[in-house]
């Protein structure tokens, strides 16, 4: 049994390496990497050019930059995992790849892990550029400690978004449809559902895009921080908006990552290549 498991692991690593090579050949990786560098740099250049002062604190500056972090994660996930499964079946390449002596599970898990590595690289680069900017503006000592917490949350959110995107890719036949559904689902549909639930005074704790608020909430100014379910910051019942609770948010992101990953793998393995 151990030999079989070792073989499966080796096959998965092979799939990961092959997929990464594929990503590197495409321009997608370049586009995503460019976004990860250009987006935070704009927050540095534009105030300089417009002669506007930066945020008064390093926390505020990082929070501003990372406001776009979740968008970058969604864009990256759509680029790397949007067509990971549907593309194989649409272009009939599955007929070749699935006929190899490799297990289907190792092929699809390899594809997922390769997409995850690509998204993790982009998120890491985005945070690194942000931290370098903070050092340049405020000094090394002012780099917020909570940046690491925010970074880990961003990685966890990236796995949740990837699993959801992979799930869409495994149930939809067309690459365009699966990519667009995952992109608009995460950028628009889920945030709209969250907003509507908040209007109805129901906390949308189970929606993953709502939990993503934690990525920037950890930087909030003292006295106005989130971390409370009903009411967000401020005195009780002062506001009708909600902010995600930390533990619940982490659990929701982990649950999305695991559940949608398993469903996506099962559906991909059972999918007919013909």
């Amino acid at each position: 049994m151990m030999a079989d498991i070792r073989e499966d692991m080796a096959h998965t690593v092979l799939s990961v390496r092959y997929e990464i090579l594929k990503h590197m050949r495409r321009t997608r990786l370049l586009i995503a990497l460019s976004l990860a560098i250009v987006l935070p740099v704009l927050f540095y250049i534009i105030p300089r050019v417009a002669n506007v002062s930066f945020a008064s604190t390093a926390d505020g500056f990082m929070s501003n930059i990372l406001g776009f972090g979740s968008f970058l994660i969604i864009i990256s996930a759509a680029l790397f995992a949007g067509d990971a499964v549907s593309g194989e079946f649409e272009s009939k390449t599955a007929l070749l790849t699935l006929s190899t002596p490799q297990r289907r599970t190792s092929i699809f898990i390899g594809k997922y892990l390769a997409a995850m590595l690509a998204v993790f690289t982009i998120v890491t680069l985005y945070y690194l550029v942000g931290v370098f900017e903070v050092i340049g503006i405020y000094g090394v000592s002012k780099v917020p400690i909570v940046t690491m917490r925010s970074y880990l949350l961003a990685l966890l959110y990236a796995t949740a978004v990837l699993s959801l995107t992979y799930f869409f890719s495994s149930i939809i036949k067309g690459t365009m449809a699966s990519t667009l559904l995952s992109f608009f689902g995460l950028i628009m549909i889920l945030p709209i559902v969250s907003s509507l639930m908040m209007v109805a005074k129901v906390e949308p704790w189970f929606i993953v895009t709502y939990s993503a608020g934690l990525i920037t909430n950890v930087f909030l100014q003292p006295g106005f921080g989130g971390g409370g379910g009903g009411g967000g910051g401020g005195p009780p019942d002062a506001f009708t908006s909600y902010s995600p609770q930390f533990t619940t948010g982490v659990e929701v992101m982990a649950a999305y990552a695991i559940v949608f990953f398993i469903i996506a793998i099962v559906l991909s393995v059972r999918r007919d290549a013909e």
Partner: protein, 185 residues
């Protein structure tokens, strides 16, 4: 010509009564003071001479959930002790507590302390005195206090969640082999 008898005697009598009454009114405050000084009760003119002289916190940069000791100093500038004083502590519109039955000595101070579990926000903390249940809002003291929110979450929790997710992925790779082995058995 007839003369109304007694009419000339009524006017002086009325004048005398008025004079006595006016004299009594004029002497009344000093008589009260004398009585008051004798019994210890303050004169009406000195009642409002109480004020909150100082308001301070055990921690000026507290965090949400911490116990903060709020200290208020009541000052009595009058010459008489003031009894039955109460002091209400509040943040914004929310009352924390009211300390009752205080006595502030004449020309002296009285320190009052209460403990409050800090609530996150920038609050206007206030201490409002009252004598015999009548609040003296004009001599209340307010002070701003920012209570920092608790640090949101813990990096270890997120790290643990990430490890669980990644272990699930690894388990998913091994799962088919394990399943086959179990079926063969």
């Amino acid at each position: 010509m007839t003369r109304t008898p007694g009419r000339g005697g009524v006017a002086p009598a009325l004048s005398l009564v008025l004079l006595v009454a006016m004299a009594a009114l004029a002497l009344a405050p000093s008589m009260t003071v004398m009585v008051a000084e004798g019994s210890g009760a303050p004169p009406l003119s000195e009642l409002p001479q109480i004020k909150v002289a100082n308001l301070s916190f055990s921690n000026d940069n507290p965090k949400e959930g911490q116990d903060i000791v709020i200290t208020a100093v009541l000052a009595n500038n009058g010459t008489f002790d003031i009894a039955n004083v109460s002091l209400t502590f509040a943040y914004g519109e929310v009352n924390i507590t009211t300390v009752r039955n205080l006595t502030v000595p004449a020309k002296g101070n009285r320190t009052v302390e209460v403990t409050w579990k800090a609530v996150k926000f920038t609050h206007v903390m206030s201490a409002v005195p009252a004598v015999d249940g009548v609040p003296f809002a004009k001599v209340a003291l307010t002070k701003s206090l920012t209570v920092a929110a608790k640090p949101i979450g813990n990096a270890y929790v997120v790290f643990a969640a990430l490890v669980v997710v990644l272990l699930t992925f690894v388990a998913a790779v091994a799962a088919p082999s394990v399943w086959e082995h179990m079926r063969k058995r």
